[in-house]
Symmetry: D2
């Protein structure tokens, strides 16, 4: 079968190489999935092009965590699926539900096990979710990491309710899903970007207010003022010195959801304002399969579709990597596999 | 000032009498409110016309719990409000927030203290909420009991999330607010009624599915089937033998929110199905002032307006009582005070 | 290997027959456990001797849900355990953690799949928990159903805190574990029984107050009075007309945890008091593997040991059944397998 | 009456001056309390001796937040208490229960309103809690700030359960209450100190493990190792560079409760480890009156008494300040008023 491998790390993704591999046979507890689409996250860019290294990572490795396809063969002992079922991969195939425990050993596709950028993937059946019909493969293949992260932060941890206020930093994948989920749950949303065009699109997706952070560099203070007492949730996806402003934007009992280990939460933070407000800063590590399933139920109920910025063909994988690295996209960047 | 008193209980509300009372002077901790509108709940009908008696009730008493108006005078020690503020009454003026405790002594206007059906009401300032501008007095005056009950059930207790399924029994005040709040939080909603016209209106208000319970008397089973595994929440407002069907409609870990002590949860219930599913049946007792305030923030954020079926003038109070008793309304029945 | 089968249902357990079966071979995802001890629950008595029938039950079937032993062989694809690990069976082997979903198909040993009363059991590896060293096999083999039920009710659902008040009905397995867990979390505990000797033992296990329900038949009212405002939790294990008294004993925001589908929650219940207080009645259906693991951590931290009333040998299984049926025990009745 | 005033800030507390003031008359909504005992917190030391300034602070001001006494006179409109009731002051007299809102205006005795170091205090009746009989005035007068902070962190926010692991930094007031509450709820506790004698006393109070941080400077790593996967809660009371080690000591889904704005959380923090684990860092701001009342119920149920290191007489207030500043105490430092 056709697949990509990361063979070496380099800044131009020359180490991401298209290759032939033997089509895998599903082992006990696994399902063989014919992949139809996948998507890129900053994590994937960092793994392929920076010195970021996943715990337990070994090259060569098939990249990407996100993917959707069709079950075509079942390994021994699998009764969760039938052949023909449409499925997507969960980010942590061993984390079924409930709190993350040390026992969930945190293998993750495209991180420390083979990922989804291949024609066929043999995946732990416990780590697959069944897809609703209304989502295309391209849409379903872009949920694994970013959408589940946004859902886990706001709903599973954050217990978001209607009327609360959510600040989404930027217009990347996680922030855009967060905007859509917050809108679906009746929250008031504020989105930041340096691009007025992206802010316009964010308003179409439900943003109640937008802020151009180049025009308003002190957006933390600006959000504090426009909300009178600060927001209840911040989707903090990292970046140069943003965390202090995020904390500034947050009100009493609010939560700053720290996301995106790889893009770099740069700079250090003074904890005093955490105490003064008081608020909490919480690290979010994607989420469980159960969270993924509850999110799909919510998406189907509300008719939410992922915002796909651009779709690349299977033979354009390197271009897709470079496009995500350059950071000009809004929402998700997908790859189709036909 | 003008006011109504319940002097005697009778089926035709002849004991609800318009009268003159001295305009009250706000005591320490109280605010004097010039009332602009109020609304009726079944509770008010039961108090005035049946042998239902509120704990601590003493006649004559000014009726009604719901009301909105303007603060016109402040008693000693009040700094929560300024004169001119628009406010509504909380159902339990002593229950500020957090869990209900025996210390919240459960006095309630129109139940065991004078209510809102008067030109002026001197009310504990801690038991008033400030109103958002977008609500008319008529709208704001119909929230105290029914809206806060629906919000408390679904959001404060029920921790409703997008994608969950909510069954609202009937189209009265609580059920209609529940439909609106569930819709605002991204839930999938099912409404029952015996009137196709009301079901049509429910769909306009956001109901995803509707069921005419005369056409489908076994609606518990029908809901179980249409949702495959049962709903997550039922707004159970009582009635002949509904509770068993509500339980039947509910899925694992679901909640039946029991509302409406006064309309009568008639018949007894076999607890076995509670265990078999398993689910919970929870009594809801309106809610705290904090819940009222959080609900107002959500309503304002989503632009939710109460569904007012009909508005009566101050001089038509008895007609309003009879209209609610006859039960043909959808949403709320208001009284304006000018 | 040696095993028991339920071949027929009869009141004297003559249908529970000792037999030879072929030692099972662990399939994919399974672990072979050499059983060392098990325990009986009322459920097991009902399955073997009454017309109670488990959904999907087929005879002959090896009985019992509770059991502990040693992993002696691993099926394909199992990496959760090593040979030699001491384990116990989870009641629902497919329910890992989080809320119960329709997808957790609710097979359960001794209910609708072969149980633990055999020398060897091949069990889904995902449905086994590793045991702390301090528990004997006899102790560890008596946790699966009753202990996890008590833990789930009070801690996972009930979010019990120090200072809350817990009423435990009777001194059977679930109630005794509930007493121990409530004591460990700093709650104030009340235990009922008709036996002063058992109440004396309950006080040794931590009960703060005890009530002989034959001397105080109106114990619901008595508990309401002695606590001033009612308890926060009731462990309601069923019985003739107890539920109304349990509800009477409960305070505002309290929870009645309904347990014991099989012993019969007899009689019907008037829902009005649920609304008046208000409180909730919640069905409890044992719990997840995650709940079992968190319970074991708590037990180890506090040094909690199951209260074993009596232990029978493998050849005395029918006597054990009759002993549990007769209901004179306190805590658990175990069977050892050597 | 006799009272102390802070007139000037100086390092030796010469600005804390004993004086005569007119005995206050309770205004509407207030109760006059004859104070019997109070206690000092680092906050009080910082207010009197450093450039720390409370928002809204104005000198001269009667110092201290903690205090207990007897209600001797009721202002207009007060029905929560009777004369003769024993009460303690809540830290935020306007925060009744539920989440902290901007509306709770955060006046606090000894911070921006007159405090408890006086023979008589007229206090908002909504901000007083009734005391259980078993506590002496000295004990009850040392709960307002430190005990409610520890309870709020672990129980109200942290939802501590039996079997969870709690790391308490040091042996001051908050940490010692945290140790006692965690022990009462069945948690496994670890305490750090530089004094073996204090660690010995901590073990008597329930600490399961202790660590001398001078002997083990890398205690974050040591705790991570001794617990295998990190603790569930840290009571982080501040100090030079402790926060990074606290984060290191914490496991997945764990919480670092940041306490003690005034002692200084010095140094900045790298947020990356928050994401990698993932965990949350939460600021704690004492707690509500409702939290205080629930804590008292738990204390009474478990017979918990504050650990009083030393008690000073009313005329020794400056010595008490200096003693707390020097930091050699364990638990609380009290002042009696007779």
């Amino acid at each position: 079968m056709e697949a990509y491998e990361i063979r070496e790390v380099d800044e131009e993704f020359e180490g991401v190489v298209r290759t032939e591999r033997e089509r895998p046979t599903p082992g006990p507890g696994e399902a063989l999935v014919r992949m139809e689409a996948g998507a890129l996250n900053y994590r994937d860019v960092a793994i392929a092009s920076t010195d970021f290294s996943y715990p337990g990572e070994e090259l060569p490795m098939i990249p990407l965590s996100d993917g959707a396809g069709e079950v075509v063969e079942l390994g021994a002992g699998v009764d969760r699926f039938d052949e023909g079922d449409r499925v997507a991969t969960a980010f942590f195939p061993d984390w079924v539900d409930g709190p993350l425990t040390p026992g969930d050993n945190r293998r993750s596709p495209g991180g420390n096990m083979d990922g989804t950028l291949a024609e066929y993937v043999s995946y732990p059946a416990e780590g697959l979710v069944e897809l609703p019909d209304y989502l295309s493969s391209e849409e379903a293949g872009s949920l694994t990491c970013a959408a589940v992260t946004a859902w886990t932060a706001l709903v599973e941890h954050g217990e978001l309710t209607a009327g609360e206020r959510v600040l989404c930093l930027g217009t990347g994948g996680v922030s855009t899903f967060a905007l859509q989920f917050a809108t679906a749950q009746g929250a008031e949303t504020i989105v930041t970007s340096s691009s007025d065009a992206k802010l316009e699109r964010a308003r179409e997706l439900g943003a109640d207010r937008t802020l151009n952070y180049e025009e308003t560099p002190d957006w933390g203070e600006a959000v504090q003022e426009m909300t009178e007492s600060g927001v209840d949730h911040v989707i903090e996806i990292g970046g140069q010195g943003t965390l202090e402003r995020s904390i500034r934007a947050t009100g009493p009992d609010g939560e700053v959801h720290l996301i995106g280990v790889l893009t770099g939460i740069s700079g250090e933070v003074d904890p005093a304002p955490i105490l003064n407000t008081p608020l909490s800063v919480r690290g979010v590590s994607v989420g469980s399969r159960g969270a993924f399933e509850r999110m799909l139920a919510a998406m189907e109920s509300e008719g939410i579709r992922p915002e796909i910025d651009r779709t690349f063909g299977f033979d354009e994988a390197r271009e897709a990597y470079r496009y995500v690295r350059d950071g000009a996209h809004q929402g998700k960047v997908a790859i189709t596999f036909d």
